[in-house]
Subunit: 277 residues, 2 copies
């Protein structure tokens, strides 16, 4: 078994997952990854709102914010808080345990896991020079009943992420079955065309992240009009700027995708500064 | 935690799953359910072949048949063997543990779980009178990279199975995004039209089960021509017979789907008898 990171299951450091947990058996649950600062989750109200919404889609009762806050307090020590260290928390909520069979039991006790990890050691050059993306071969399936939800059925992301090994590539762009741009394996995507920014519509597939939601809210203050709509690869490759975002990186400028290159521009840095406020 | 059934993880009764297991984190693994008779898995060569094939699709090294056989021997006691009892074994193979991130580690130790359950208490009437299916609202997504594989990303099955609660309905028929019949939530489907039987093509979605494979092989000995092709709901509802199959039920006659009824006929019983040989 791997050593660190630490985790806490249903508020108990000594508990483990059994193979009867429906999260293990069927991926029957949801999760979130968030930045921790001073021992507290950044953008917690939005993250918790999204947890509740995602749980509702799959019919799981979301644990209270108080329970999760108590988990954070147990996992992220005073030391870390005093040193103003950054960290990462991942929350997993599953439907809980059941006997064999897809049928969700009438009553289950959801399994609540919080995992603490170190903040990834991102190179400063990612911010200074922008990042390179590849275009994944794997095409995301269309499932409107689960689109937007950060559920535990993530084999598509795993297979897409396995397509490249070069450290020079920060993430892979995933298209859907009709060839439209949806997201990266671990980020959402925005393009800028003049004074307009576009992020893909996620009503058929993809994960609607909290940072994407925040950028949609912040953009008008930069004089940018936001559109959420179908985005073709051609549109993306001919955009003025491409920016990716998630809860850990904030926003990063994309300067290379396949043969297409962009000069490093200002949008990602401006957004990142706004996100930090 | 639930009491029985028993399980064994990596050959160890005391081991549990950690939340770092990629099966739990991403559904990054595969599974099989099989009938156990005299402490041994029925159709083991086919099940093991399918385990190896499914592992290969997602890039997991499948544990040896010897290791799994040793797990069976530890789980299914001599008592059960002597009493000629039927049981159920579920095998789960995941990519193993890793730190946060979709990227599959270069080297992982796969997690191997065998879970023992009691044989479901199927009513004799299921065989004598046939079974009723409903038609699920949820439409299966198209993902050719994973189609046919019994992987751990089964939220679609869970949501589809949650659509009905009546015990009178044995299973729900799942259609794909284009409205074609694919399978039940826990079975494969065949129709008979005269001397021809058709089972849906599973190159875009669905799970290609071992019993389906066996029926495809057995049908010619009954003078039936087998076709694996697109099957519309209209074709199915106007078929001479509809039969469902899986490793636990063998084959069952379908006598009702929505408003459509069929007289109980012979195909399922004939197939079940052949499957038992």
């Amino acid at each position: 078994m791997l050593a660190t990171p630490n985790y806490i299951i249903n508020g108990d450091f000594s508990q483990q997952i059994t193979p009867l947990d429906r999260g293990f058996a069927y991926g029957d649950g949801i999760f979130r990854t968030m930045l921790m600062r001073n021992g507290l989750p950044v953008d917690w109200p939005l993250h918790y709102q999204k947890l509740v919404a995602d749980c509702a889609v799959v019919g799981i009762v979301c644990p209270s914010a108080e329970l999760l806050m108590s988990d954070f307090k147990q996992l992220f020590s005073m030391d870390e808080i005093e040193e103003n260290r950054l960290g990462v928390a991942k929350i997993v909520i599953t439907r809980g345990e059941s006997y064999r069979g897809y049928k969700p039991p009438a009553i289950t006790l959801p399994t609540r896991v919080v995992i603490k990890s170190a903040m990834p050691n991102y190179a400063v050059t990612l911010v200074e020079q922008g990042v390179e993306l590849c275009i994944c071969q794997l095409r995301l399936n269309h499932q409107p009943k689960l689109a937007g939800v950060k559920h535990l059925n993530r084999l598509e992301n795993v297979l897409a992420r396995a397509e490249w090994s070069s450290d020079a590539i920060f993430d892979g762009l995933m298209l859907d079955q009709s060839g439209c741009v949806i997201e990266g394996t671990m980020c959402n995507v925005f393009i800028r065309q003049g004074q307009q920014i576009i992020t893909p519509d996620l009503s058929m597939c993809g994960v609607a992240g909290v940072t994407r939601q925040r950028i949609i809210g912040l953009a008008p203050s930069l004089g940018l009009q936001v559109k959420v709509e179908t985005l073709t690869l051609e549109q993306l490759l001919s955009a003025d700027e491409v920016v990716i975002c998630n809860s850990l990186i904030g926003a990063l400028q994309v300067t290379k995708i396949a043969d297409q290159r962009w000069q490093n521009q200002l949008l990602a840095n401006t957004l990142r500064a706004l996100l930090l406020q």
